[in-house]
């Protein structure tokens, strides 16, 4: 429905084609809604272009090279040489294939694609400025809008991503060479994933973290497994230090200065510094106030169970809609928003959002920790199984970590799982299904698990919680 020659209309306008936005657009179109998706940069958003996918590609590459080079115990002797430019090209090929796929899927489902940057004119139209000079702009009016503009890396004073040696995660994932020495500021999941990659590629990595442990938000015993392994890879940790500035060094490299709370200073020589201290939602460049929207103090758009903002016909999904800033949370919100607009009885009524960290070993968590279960008024029982007792883990050569299952003692309902170990990101899927289904510990243990698999460890942990473990002692 063309309203004028510079103004078009659409039933559903989606702003941003990351995993929140493109999924919302496809689902809206599948529901028969006339849908337009505006993207200023690249299809797939942060996730496909500068986040999940490129980081996981490098993690695979680094693991393969490292494992093959350290497998004498298995009788394998190799001295792999990594050509970072080649690995980057492989990664770029994957990204291109996936982003091209997203574009094709949008088109095949009938989504109208518009290239450009959207800003609100009022609560029922946006102006889209087309990229490049003299490309002009257009107005798009909408009945419903889904804001999915994602997030961007946070900067800290003294470290400007525009400076040559200061890298964001995006810059780090685009390097054509492996720096000899890298300082990583921030030991959150992005900092830890990338530190591990570079350490395995023979870079000397120093991690500086303001808090006193890696992976804030994860339980101590989970974080400890990852930290221990990182240390054994040669990563040098400095906790309780904030990065204050960087300067050119004498050796052609740089020097990164840090400060403790007490004002104690330290300096670390490096070639590059990667700043990975968190991400901020992109809500400041949209003229949100024109649509009657106001982000909260953290910059997020608050939403209800239908992914709806304070303005009834405007929805927000993905990183702009709050924590956890994870691709699959965004996609879920995108689907729900699209279905709600289509009149379906959809809601964000899931019980748990799983999360994975692709460190060595991986972490996969879902639902409540023991402490959280207690806070919620449950009387939790907990079962644990260490991977060093798993036959399958031994045969993979990776035995660090454990599976923990948290359940309600009275009812037996599974409330949560914390997995740190090989394939933890995959193993958590079964626990997530158990939680959503309202499965009990007995349901988990009654389900036959294939031998020999890592997934058996989930069963063993559940049996341990019931005092019936076969392959560990019950206490």
């Amino acid at each position: 429905m063309v309203v004028g020659d510079i103004s078009t209309g659409t039933e559903v306008l989606v702003i941003g084609a990351g995993p929140g936005g493109y999924v919302a657009a496809i689902r809206a179109a599948q529901n028969g809604l006339d849908t337009t998706l505006v993207e200023k940069d690249a299809y797939g958003g942060t996730c496909l272009n500068h986040g999940c996918i490129p980081s996981k590609a490098y993690i695979t590459g680094a693991n393969l090279a490292y494992d093959a080079g350290h497998a004498e115990e298995m009788g394998i002797h190799a001295d792999p040489v990594v050509d970072m430019a080649g690995m980057r090209e492989w990664k770029n090929g994957i990204v291109d294939q996936l982003t091209g796929g997203v574009e094709k899927l949008c088109k095949a489902n009938g989504v109208n694609l518009v290239k450009g940057t959207a800003t609100f004119k009022d609560d029922s139209s946006v102006r889209v400025a087309h990229g490049g000079e003299g490309q002009g702009s257009e107005t798009i009016t909408f009945e419903h809008c889904i804001v999915a503009t994602g997030s961007r890396p946070m900067q800290i004073p003294g470290f400007d991503f525009a400076d040559e040696h200061v890298l964001s995660s995006r810059d780090a994932l685009a390097l054509e060479y492996v720096p000899d020495r890298l300082v990583v500021v921030g030991a959150g999941y992005i900092g830890m994933e990338l530190s591990t990659v570079f350490a395995k590629l023979d870079c000397e990595v120093t991690v500086v973290e303001m808090l006193d442990d890696v992976l804030p938000g994860y339980e101590d015993d989970v974080a400890r497994v990852v930290k221990k392994r990182a240390e054994s890879l040669g990563i040098d940790f400095h906790f309780g230090e904030g990065a204050s500035e960087w300067r050119e060094g004498n050796d052609g490299g740089i020097v990164v200065a840090t400060e403790t709370e007490d004002g104690e200073e330290s300096t670390y020589a490096a070639d590059e510094v990667l700043v990975a201290v968190g991400r901020r939602p992109v809500t400041d460049t949209l003229n949100l106030e024109k649509a009657g929207l106001e982000p909260n103090e953290k910059g997020f758009l608050e939403t209800d169970e239908q992914a709806r903002t304070d303005v009834d016909h405007i929805y927000a999904v993905g990183d702009v809609a709050g924590e956890p800033m994870l691709a699959h949370k965004g996609s879920k919100e995108g689907m729900v928003a699209a279905e709600v607009i289509a009149g379906e009885p959809a809601a964000l009524d899931y019980q748990a959002i799983p999360a994975a960290v692709f460190t060595d070993p991986e972490i996969g968590t879902v639902g409540m920790t023991e402490g959280e279960a207690e806070e919620m008024g449950f009387d939790p029982i907990v079962g644990k199984f260490p991977f060093n007792a798993s036959g399958r883990a031994m045969t993979t050569g990776h035995t660090d970590g454990f599976v923990r299952i948290v359940a309600d003692e009275e009812s037996g309902f599974v409330l949560g799982g914390q997995i740190v170990g090989p394939e933890a990101s995959e193993l958590v899927a079964e626990v997530a299904l158990a939680i959503e289904m309202g499965a009990t510990l007995e349901d988990l243990t009654a389900t036959i698990h294939t031998h020999p698999t890592l997934a058996e460890s989930v069963l063993e942990a559940a049996e341990n919680a019931l005092g019936q473990a076969i392959h560990t002692l019950n206490r």
Binding site: A346, D349, M376, G377, E410, S411, F413, E436, G438, E442
Partner: protein, 87 residues
């Protein structure tokens, strides 16, 4: 039963049962579950919807007669939401 399954504000029911409850306008948190440990099943949700529909369509005395069902009792809010959907 309904109390223990709503511990910590949680309802133990499969996603499909939760969606069915929304479709039928039933507040699943107030449905007593017949599954293991009080898990709410599809059938529980349908039964709750039926007894609500029955309750709202018929005289008060009838809904009083169902008082013995306890947790499956209908609250006014949900009654109105069912009515709205029926319109």
């Amino acid at each position: 039963q309904a109390e223990s399954s709503a511990k910590g504000g949680r309802v133990f029911a499969a996603p499909s049962a939760r969606r069915l409850a929304r479709e039928l306008g039933v507040d699943i948190a107030a449905v007593s579950g017949s599954g293991p440990s009080g898990r709410v099943t599809d059938a529980d949700v349908r039964q709750a919807a039926e007894s609500e529909a029955g309750a709202s369509a018929s005289a008060e005395t009838e809904s009083e007669a169902q008082d013995g069902d306890g947790p499956r009792d209908v609250d006014v809010d949900r009654k109105s939401s069912v009515t709205k959907r029926g319109e």
